[in-house]
Amino acid sequence: MTRVSEHLNRALHDLLAADPGVHVLGEDITDPYGGAFKVTRGLSGRFGDRVRSTPLSEGAIVGVGAGLALAGRKAIVEIMFADFATLAFDQLVNFAAASTSMYGRPVPIPLVVRCPSGGNRGYGPTHSQSPQKHFLGVPGLHVFEMSPFHDAGRLLETMLGLGRPCLLFEDKVLYTRRMYEDGVVDDLFRYEVTGGVARVFLEGAAEPDCTLIVHGGMVHRALAAVRDLLLEEDVVCELLVPSQLYPLPDLPGLERAGHVCVVEDGSEGGGWGAEVARVLHPRLWSTLRRPITLVASAPSVIPAAPHLEREVLVQPGHIRHAIMEALS
């Protein structure tokens, strides 16, 4: 059994061992601390100054990463909390992303900015957000998210291979969960990964009543809802988990879905779900029976106290309720 944080750590070790051109930068990432969430543990001891702990300068760290990439290296930058990625917005949008095309020819910028995101850990308003939505729709910028189904090594390879800056969101609760293996989720559900999209399905089931599209950090809450819906409401659901959130990749099998629901951890309004629905509505217009349901966290800051935080962030009950309401 491998925890997601260990899995990511192993992928980084393998990547740095395989490619001497890869650098890793971030705050407090070197040993013995090994990063706030220990994802970079052991890297500095093994790979020396290719792994650098930096000053508290998110904007400049991303800029340095872009500079390394411009000079022919590959850079992986860790932003300690995804909330702080806003400090690097200029470097990401106006430099790294723009530079891939604003010089009139493709300029490769192999840069991955890793962002531990999400709440349900009681860290309060500025250490719990899922700010993916703020980075959608930026030409040249790709947004990815880690999931318990996607191999991190392959994901890193894909992102660096794009030659364009990528954000990789990694849910902080997900770090503590295990990677799924061998196509098995639990006693009822199975999964397969094709074209970067994980599909979780009830073994032997025909067409699902509802297909949920979620990002990696929502997987466990969505699975809990899907299980309850099956056992208590007799509603069969399927789950699609793309590792690439933007631009949205092709999502398989939606034409046969009775209903489509997008669930995201970010706050309601201008979110990823709206972007997914924008892409899917024209494509599914003739087969959809009702509008795509969007589930998001409340349009609110994220409180520190656990009982208040639970009310704001999407929980399994919210998902179940939204789907039952849509299907009724």
């Binding site: 650098r52 340095v64 500079g67 411009l70 000079a71 200029d90 891939t100 095309s101 010089y103 020819r105």
Partner: protein
């Protein structure tokens, strides 16, 4: 009064600049004047920032830079580019969106990437990127040179980058073109303390030069730049300079007295008076060269861009 520098004058008895330097100075001057003329005539779109009066800085630095150095430039970058790559046709085509443009006409005046020369339009943004490139040059003898202005020091990214540059000992040459005015705001109204004090705060050596004589500047800077390469350390070089033209096109809000004071420091009038013969010949040659380039480039078809 926007001139915060003590009055200075380069020695009137200085020998004439080398012919190739004077030629480059005049090429840049006529390039910039031509842009303003083309704007007036409605033949250029968008905006432009000319370096009138500041041409001698990149020309002086030209001889101190090597081919494998990175050079980062800013919004006022035509002189920086022409001193690095003598391709007025490519640059003009870029600015005019014509065939043969350096960046297919996508970047325009402020966003050029050609070999190891890169300019971008957001103040201070290039410094952290420059540090990243300089990290890869450590110990190679090459360096990264980045041009900024006095106004750029308002950006936090400058300090984040200087901190890392010193901490990680990267070969970074920061060239500050301190012309005393940030767009319309005098430095005295936008900067507390000094550039020197700010460099000192990071333990980064700082050198201020008031000369506008190319040979003198090179003699001053050569050992310092050599040390950046040898020891892999950052250096801030601050030029006390004067922008004799507007910020962009017709937006000069300075008083006639202030503009006249800036013009007093213009190498162009000084050299015209000191070396009338050599100057007159080269001045004519470069004016004609740029005029021909403008006519030729204007007649080209529009640039083509394959949008990704």
């Amino acid at each position: 009064m926007i001139d915060t520098f003590p009055p200075f004058a380069s020695p009137r008895s200085a020998p004439p600049p080398a012919e190739e330097d004077l030629q480059l100075l005049l090429l840049i001057r006529h390039f910039e004047l031509t842009l303003l003329r083309l704007f007036e005539a409605g033949q250029l779109s968008g905006t432009t920032h000319t370096c009138l009066g500041q041409e001698y800085i990149p020309v002086a630095l030209k001889a101190l830079l090597e081919s494998d150095d990175f050079v980062f430039s800013n919004h006022r970058g035509h002189g920086h580019f022409l001193a690095r790559h003598t391709d007025p046709h490519g640059l003009l085509a870029e600015i005019m969106g014509r065939e043969g443009a350096l960046c297919s006409g996508v970047g325009g005046s402020q966003h050029i990437y050609h070999r190891r020369f890169l300019s971008t339009g957001v103040q201070g943004e290039s410094l952290p990127v420059a540090v990243g490139t300089a990290l890869t040059l450590k110990g190679t003898g090459a360096l990264t040179c980045v041009y900024i202005g006095d106004g750029t020091w308002g950006e936090g990214s400058v300090y984040e980058a200087l901190n890392m540059a010193r901490l990680w000992r990267v070969p970074l040459l920061v060239v500050v073109e301190h012309n005393g005015i940030a767009q319309s705001t005098p430095t005295t109204a936008q900067m507390a303390g000094t550039v020197a004090g700010r460099a000192a705060a990071f333990g980064i050596p700082h050198h201020r030069t008031v000369s506008t004589e190319i040979a003198e500047i090179r003699a001053e800077l050569a050992p310092l730049v050599a040390e950046v390469r040898r020891a892999s350390v950052p250096l801030v070089v601050e030029f006390a300079t004067h922008r004799i033209g507007p910020h962009s096109k017709g937006d000069d809000t300075r008083t006639p007295e202030e503009i006249a004071l800036a013009a007093d420091h213009d190498w162009y009038t000084r050299y015209a008076g000191l070396f009338p013969e050599a100057f007159g010949r080269l001045d004519r040659e470069m004016r004609e060269l740029v005029e021909r380039a403008a006519a030729e480039v204007s007649a080209r078809p529009p640039s083509v861009w394959e949008r990704p």
